[in-house]
Symmetry: C2
Subunit: 319 residues, 2 copies
DNA sequence: CTGAAAGCGCTAACAT
DNA sequence: ATGTTAGCGCTTTCAG
């Protein structure tokens, strides 16, 4: 193993001088610098990152916690984080959880072990209480956690859903259903809250059986449509929190000769290219930006304000 | 900082005993074990991963090189790698390259610095020559690199395209186009080779303008369709290497009243849920399995045989 | 400007 | 069974 000591010996200088050269510190005579660099060249020396990490107490890498990797949502947020991290010389460590609490805790354990300098939670499995003792300014949430000392960036889902409802009401719908990823988790709860508040404000009824859960992908959307078709009392419009799911519904509707939006209107979220291709009215959700902002928050040393991002409606033909 | 030494002191034992307890080594008297564990508890001790990494010369983490994170293909392969890695106690470090050569080289640099124990290339930007000096048994390729000493897992794209051609010929098509991600890179070259070989074997012509590049997502598919519509001499069928692109084509065809498959047949690859939803005939490509196998290859110490995976046709309505 | 030396925190060979 | 000790390879203070 060729280490800093061997090159010091070969260059005829001390290890600290070598270290200075390697880290572009000033105050090294040009002659010695050359000798060191020559020795590095000659011995094919490569710095050992782990030694640096140990010595510095930092790894310049940040962990990202996410449930799944094969969903566009997480790919996009990851892309946002990765881009920003790269700019600042940080690397990404992935913690895929499948929404398993233990897997999530493991990530926090890695943080404590200093394997990563920080953690971004793109989604969360454990309760905040369970996590409380691990949370530091190096931890960033992508949801509206209520503790004001926690760093967070999130989409205003509450307002998003309310705007969606308003829009559907204005189009004459009053029987409206909701299609969600899951019912727990802050983001989902905010959506549900927006849904009920909005309905109440407008004086329209909400039916529990019009709320569909566990909708992640295309197939789920197709299943929901089948279910919808079998219902006695059908909603005339559905707010769907993912374009993937909406796409499944639209595709299935085509097969079953269900007319969109006449028989069923669909108001979607994401504004993924898919929604444009399939002519689905959708709210743009700046997910990638969530990733970018999350990383920026991690870097901020002071207690930064939460970053709140908004959705924007793109009207197309599904409503 | 509470380290192994402080807990040794508190427990009244030596650091090596502490280390033994912490690593579940045998030969520690139950009494001392308890004392150590108590001290750990009391001081809230947490092992420093970097010290372990340095001491062991291993990090139990593997780097994954990929161009983009927001494409289903890479999400799926990542999911495969992550699942297998988790089973074996390894972590994932991400190197997103945007197909930038420098970014890719940086990943190899990290390998040399021992920041990761290995590297999986899901796609490659540099030439094999440029990479040659960095390649070791810790590097796994997801393509058919010809050097027999390199570890590799790949889809038999050559055969896949040839089967696709046969299928289209059998359906009466002879004017066939091809829609690719890119023209360089082993996987793409294999597809092109299959395309030309197949056409030649069947005695059918191939036209250069019927080969489309840079097709990654839905929008690209829509663009290709527009282009197709404007052509004087149109192919009657297109082989498309990604369901995302095919989906864009099908969606756009709907808008322009182009009949699929009557005006244009589409034979796709991936068998993504999208193809099922949109009734697109597609070859299943076991991408996730590529990821799983890639990780397994990394673990194999001997020179393992390359892993070759095959595609399977799912007939639907687009041909 | 440069070098000596004391860490960073853990592992493992060796001795007992 | 347990302790001593020499690393792992780099950074950084302190003295000169």
């Amino acid at each position: 193993m060729t280490n800093i000591r061997s090159i010091a010996k070969l260059a005829g200088v001390s290890v600290s001088t070598v270290s200075r050269v390697l880290n572009d510190h000033p105050y090294v005579k040009e002659e010695k610098r050359r000798k060191v660099l020559d020795a590095v060249e000659q011995l094919n020396y490569i710095k050992n990152a782990n030694a640096v990490h140990l010595s510095k107490g930092k790894t310049y890498s940040i962990g990202v916690i996410l449930p799944y990797l094969n969903l566009p949502y997480f790919g996009e947020i990851l892309q946002g984080i990765a881009g920003e991290a790269l700019k600042h010389g940080y690397h990404l460590q992935l913690f895929q959880t499948d929404y398993d609490r233990g897997a999530e805790l493991d990530a926090f354990h890695r943080l404590q072990m200093k394997e990563v300098d920080g953690l971004i939670l793109t989604s969360r499995s454990n309760s905040l209480d369970a996590l409380a003792s691990f949370i530091s300014p190096n931890v960033v949430f992508c949801e509206n956690v209520y503790d004001p000392t926690y760093k967070k960036v999130f989409i205003d889902h509450y307002q998003g859903i309310r705007s969606g409802l308003e829009y559907l009401y204005s189009k004459g719908h009053s029987q409206i259903g909701l299609c969600l990823h899951r019912t727990f988790g802050t983001n989902s709860e905010e959506r549900i809250r927006g849904f009920f508040d909005g309905a109440e404000a407008a004086g329209h009824p909400v039916r529990d059986e019009w709320i569909f859960n566990d909708c992640y992908d295309l197939q789920d959307g197709r299943d929901v449509l089948s279910e919808w078709e079998r219902m006695e009392e059908k909603p005339s419009a559905l707010i769907v929190t993912s374009d993937q799911v909406s796409a499944g519904m639209v595709a299935e509707a085509g097969k079953r000769s269900i007319r969109i939006p006449d028989d069923l209107a669909i108001l979607s979220f994401d504004n993924h290219p898919l929604s444009d291709a399939l002519d689905i009215t959708s709210f743009e959700v700046p997910i990638r930006k969530v990733g970018e902002e999350a990383f920026k928050l991690f870097l901020e040393s002071e207690h930064p304000d939460p970053v709140i991002l908004n959705t924007t409606l793109f009207e197309r033909g599904s409503v």
